[in-house]
């Protein structure tokens, strides 16, 4: 990190500020948004940039999130570059439009600041809002720190607007733990970002609204027509995996930072056991791994950076042949015993050459995924590798769930 090959400067800013600055650097034509904790600061910052003239876009301050998503969808279909941001209740309130954007293949880019969903009222962190929208047909990316928030937003435009992809992208980052985290972020120069995004201008122009010409969007699809559109959507999603890897490599050559594409493997080469995590927890897990490595524990982390499409090929390649894998979920899959990411990985268990899987649920509703909790998870994953009896699912911060046997 920080081996920059181009001019840059480090600023201590929050994850929210990193998202807003990235949006500004991408020079969107239209931003429409509505504030919500813990995302509000993104909109505050963009409003400030807009008011000062630093950001030359149409800023639509809508009366609610549903309008925000409809506004950026329309602007995107008309050919514009767009941005919006939301969280939790806001994401739920725009849900029909979120689906419509995907169906229309509008290359909308947004950030979602992860928070628990409506039901039990909570202004607190958790990935349940991401899980609730996982099959909307969007590409989902997840950031670990403030720098990655900025970098992923920039990379998202390359992915969304790529002629071979044309899909909306949502960048997720943990509310509170990242949205309000202040740390040093290398903010690239405008010219560098312009250069990185300039290749989008050289590709064939996507179908956009042209005055005087007819254009149908949000079309009805019946039987075969519907299936054709859906299948095209699914195959574009699949193509986005390799495209994301390419973009990451090119990003590295320009900005000097590389993240490894769909998944990042941290100290995995000779690891017997691995934790699979996503988001801000990964920073904490890495620091615990460093401590345990000094004690001779052969442990690594696989960080999921792309969640939709589900990067199963990359996960299988990273996890294959390990003795045991502990999957950490910051959300729930109702009806399943394990967390959502655990449940999805389970479908590929037979390809993992015997690696055993165990599910950890933690970090819900602002529960802190502490170093102690990570140590517990590592110990249980080691126990599993050693052939000991380990429960399939553990709610790490709520022991009652484990003793009462709610099954």
């Amino acid at each position: 990190m920080n081996t920059t090959t181009t001019p840059s400067r480090i600023k201590v800013i929050t994850g929210n500020a990193a998202a807003a600055i990235a949006a500004k650097l991408a020079r969107p034509d239209v931003v429409a948004a509505y504030p919500i904790t813990p995302q509000t600061e993104v909109i505050e910052q963009i409003s400030t940039f807009h008011a000062s003239g630093e950001m030359d876009c149409e800023l639509i301050t809508v009366e609610g999130e549903n309008s925000a998503m409809n506004a950026v969808m329309a602007a995107s279909l008309a050919g514009g570059r767009v941005f919006t941001a939301s969280s939790s209740w806001g994401l739920v309130f725009m849900y029909d439009a979120v689906l419509a954007v995907a169906g229309a293949r509008a290359p909308v880019v947004m950030v979602n600041v992860n928070r628990e969903t409506p039901g039990i009222i909570a202004v607190s962190s958790g990935q349940q809002d991401m899980i609730s929208t996982r099959d909307a047909g969007w590409i989902f990316l997840i950031a670990e720190d403030c720098q990655e928030v900025l970098d992923l937003v920039l990379q998202s435009y390359r992915l969304a607007e790529d002629y071979d992809i044309q899909l909306p992208v949502m960048v997720h980052y943990d509310g509170f733990f990242l949205s309000y985290l202040s740390e040093g972020v290398d903010i690239p120069e405008q010219e560098t970002v312009d250069r990185f995004l300039s290749v989008l201008k050289d590709q064939p122009r996507r179908t956009v609204l042209t005055p005087g010409q007819k254009l149908g969007v949000g079309s009805h699809g019946i039987l075969g027509g519907y299936m054709e559109l859906r299948h095209k959507h699914v195959t574009a999603m699949e193509r986005s995996k390799a495209k994301f890897e390419e973009i990451d490599k090119e990003f590295a050559s320009i900005f000097g930072r590389s993240y490894g594409g769909q998944v990042e493997e941290y100290r995995c080469d000779d690891a017997d056991i691995v934790l699979l995590g996503s988001g801000s927890m990964c920073g904490t897990i890495k620091s615990v791994i460093d401590d345990q490595r000094e004690k001779g524990v052969r442990i690594g982390l696989v960080k999921m950076r792309m969640y939709r499409p589900f990067p199963h090929q990359a996960l299988v390649a990273a996890l294959k042949g390990k003795k045991a894998v502990g999957v950490v979920d910051r959300s729930l899959a109702f009806g399943f015993d394990g967390g959502p990411i655990y449940t999805e990985l389970k479908a590929f268990e037979t390809r993992l050459d015997g690696a055993q899987l165990v599910s950890f649920i933690d970090g819900i509703a602002n529960t802190d995924i502490t170093k102690t909790n990570v140590e517990k998870m590592i110990q249980m994953t080691r126990d599993l590798a050693d052939g000991k009896d380990v429960p399939e699912v553990t709610w790490v911060s709520y022991p009652d769930a484990n003793t009462k046997g709610g099954k």
Binding site: M1, I10, K11, V12, T37, V123, S124, D145, D174, F176, F177, L178, Y180, L181, S182, E183, G184, S280, M281, G283, T284, K286, S287, N366, D368, I369, T370, K371
Partner: protein, 183 residues
């Protein structure tokens, strides 16, 4: 070497900004700083806790701080609260915003107590009882981890014009007027 600092105060006192300014100041010295607050619905008067990690190496932890070696208490009414001292490591330091140099704050692990009348200084310089910029100056002196210069420079990222000038004086006065007791 990483310092883990926990900040205690109330909404409106600038608790979050205190932790941000210090993270910013550390970054200016080529070190690393990371800070974040923990609160629910944002409102004035509610208790706010913030966490700061300052180190010569990149900070990757994204968790709250349970075993601080430094406490910063912006709200004098919390100076004896049990949760303030929870987990304090032996040899710990505490910076307290209080009117006078109280001798009634003690804890078995507290080795250094620093007191500054940050509200008083803030009233004189900016006309508001917002203690945060006095506290950041006092922090530099007490901790010995920072010079006052990067702290004052960092203020320019949060204030401008007359407010900046007044807050710079606040930080300077905090640095000069903080009183320290070895316990």
């Amino acid at each position: 070497m990483m310092s883990e600092v926990r900040f205690h105060g109330r909404g409106g006192q600038g608790v979050v900004t205190t932790s941000k300014i210090l993270a910013n100041a550390f970054a200016r010295t080529g070190q690393y700083g990371a800070s974040f607050p923990m609160f629910g619905f944002e409102r004035r008067g509610a208790p706010v806790t913030a966490f700061g990690r300052f180190s010569d190496k990149p900070v990757r932890e994204k968790t709250q701080i349970y075993n601080p070696n430094i406490l910063v208490v912006l709200d004098p009414s919390q100076k004896k609260a049990a949760n303030v001292f929870a987990g304090l490591l032996p040899g710990g330091m505490m910076l307290l915003n209080d009117k006078k140099n109280t001798d009634d704050v003690r804890h078995e692990n507290l080795r250094k107590l620093a007191v500054v009348d940050a509200n008083g200084i803030a009233m004189e310089e900016i006309g508001l009882p917002i203690p945060n910029t006095v506290v950041v100056g006092a922090f530099a002196k007490m901790s010995g981890l920072l010079d006052i210069a990067p702290v004052v420079e960092a203020l320019a990222d949060y204030f401008s014009g007359k407010k900046l000038a007044a807050n710079e004086i606040c930080a300077q006065r905090g640095f000069e007027q903080v009183q320290m007791i070895d316990l």
